[in-house]
Homo-oligomer: 217 residues x 2
């Protein structure tokens, strides 16, 4: 099949691709070098044909009768998602969560590189977290301009979130990952904002437990 260039890809497909990527990586680390759609589907809690359909949509990456090659498929999905190139990211708010995020191995796995952190606390400024040095938050704007930063991760206290987002320059910043309790609309000043609620999955589990649902990922 031809590589899909015209059809609109839904966000649900993209989210599943990230799941495939993760479970394929996980299987690869366990020594597997081929995986079938059935296996991927079981690991992700899906139906096998949706896995095949999702992947076939972007090109025929499998080998009939055999399955998908772990190394190749990883490379292909990385390419689809734009994870094949290193991306510089900055973090604002070097507290517990910010520190944990910079150190979270999952970001490096997908080529996100935290090159700097920003905070108001003078105690923290000048220190390094992982590879990232901590700068005063006043330096954020010029830093973004100078380094052409496109993605900002927000882990400041909720009370400060709005002011920082308002001050981001949409000529540079295209995406914001918001870990604060403030809910931003998905498009803000032409930037994509994704609100992340760590409690969300726990809330979903809570509902599942209460209602004894069997359910997917």
């Amino acid at each position: 099949m031809e590589l899909n260039t015209t059809t609109k890809i839904s966000e649900a497909v993209i989210r599943r691709l990230t799941d495939y990527l993760r479970c394929i990586r996980c299987a690869g680390e366990a020594g597997r070098d081929m995986l079938t759609s059935l296996e991927i589907s079981e690991r992700c809690g899906l139906n096998a044909s949706i896995v095949r359909k999702d992947l076939a949509q972007f090109g025929a990456y499998g080998v009939k009768g055999m399955g998908y090659n772990v190394r190749d498929l990883t490379r292909q999905i990385n390419k689809i998602l734009g994870l094949d190139k290193l991306k510089d990211v900055v973090l604002v708010g070097a507290g517990h969560l910010g520190t944990a995020i910079i150190r979270y191995p999952g970001f490096a796995d997908v080529n996100f590189n935290f090159i700097a952190a920003f905070d108001t606390d003078p105690e923290k400024i000048g220190k390094t977290i992982g590879q990232a040095e901590v700068y005063p938050v006043e330096d954020l704007k010029p830093f973004i301009r100078k380094h052409g930063i496109q993605i900002v991760v927000l882990t400041v206290p909720s009370s400060e979130a709005q002011a920082i987002v308002n001050d981001l320059d949409p000529d540079y910043v295209k995406g914001v990952l918001n870990f604060t309790a403030v809910v931003f609309p998905p498009k803000q000043n032409n930037m994509f904002v994704h609100n992340i609620d760590l409690a969300k999955e726990l809330e979903v589990i809570s509902y599942c437990m209460k209602n004894c649902l069997s359910q997917g990922s």
Copy 2:
């Protein structure tokens, strides 16, 4: 409309309810006491009628011509999701991420109470993080049994994840929130496992940026 007891509620609806809850709370803190479906929809990046339909499905919580009462709606959604009762939760792996999660205010907001943490590092044992004391990981199993713990949050190094999950007693533990890079199937020993990938939203942003999509939350 009668309260829904028969129709199957999809997980997508539940996820949206958690979004509503969050944005309603956020509006409430900003001093609002009524919200219309349109306002909620805009904050969440959705269509207004889906908000109405989602809420109406569980009962008529709105007032025609006026909108939804912030306080009442919060209470209703909390009830639907089973967040109206305090739930004890334990954390395994008291590293950076574990510490950040225990301190994350979003969990307390929805009545999740971290009552203990477990770790292998003798340095950490005996200390407290938030309200939670850190115990040796050997004490996990008896602790779960003694306190009837139903939810476990997993923030250990990936290499240890499998062993800990295998050792959880499904007679007590119903839900696992897995922050490690290991991907577990959604049902493991009759426990609900939710795999959380902090990098996932960044991957989605990456794709959106690459393809200049306009998209929802």
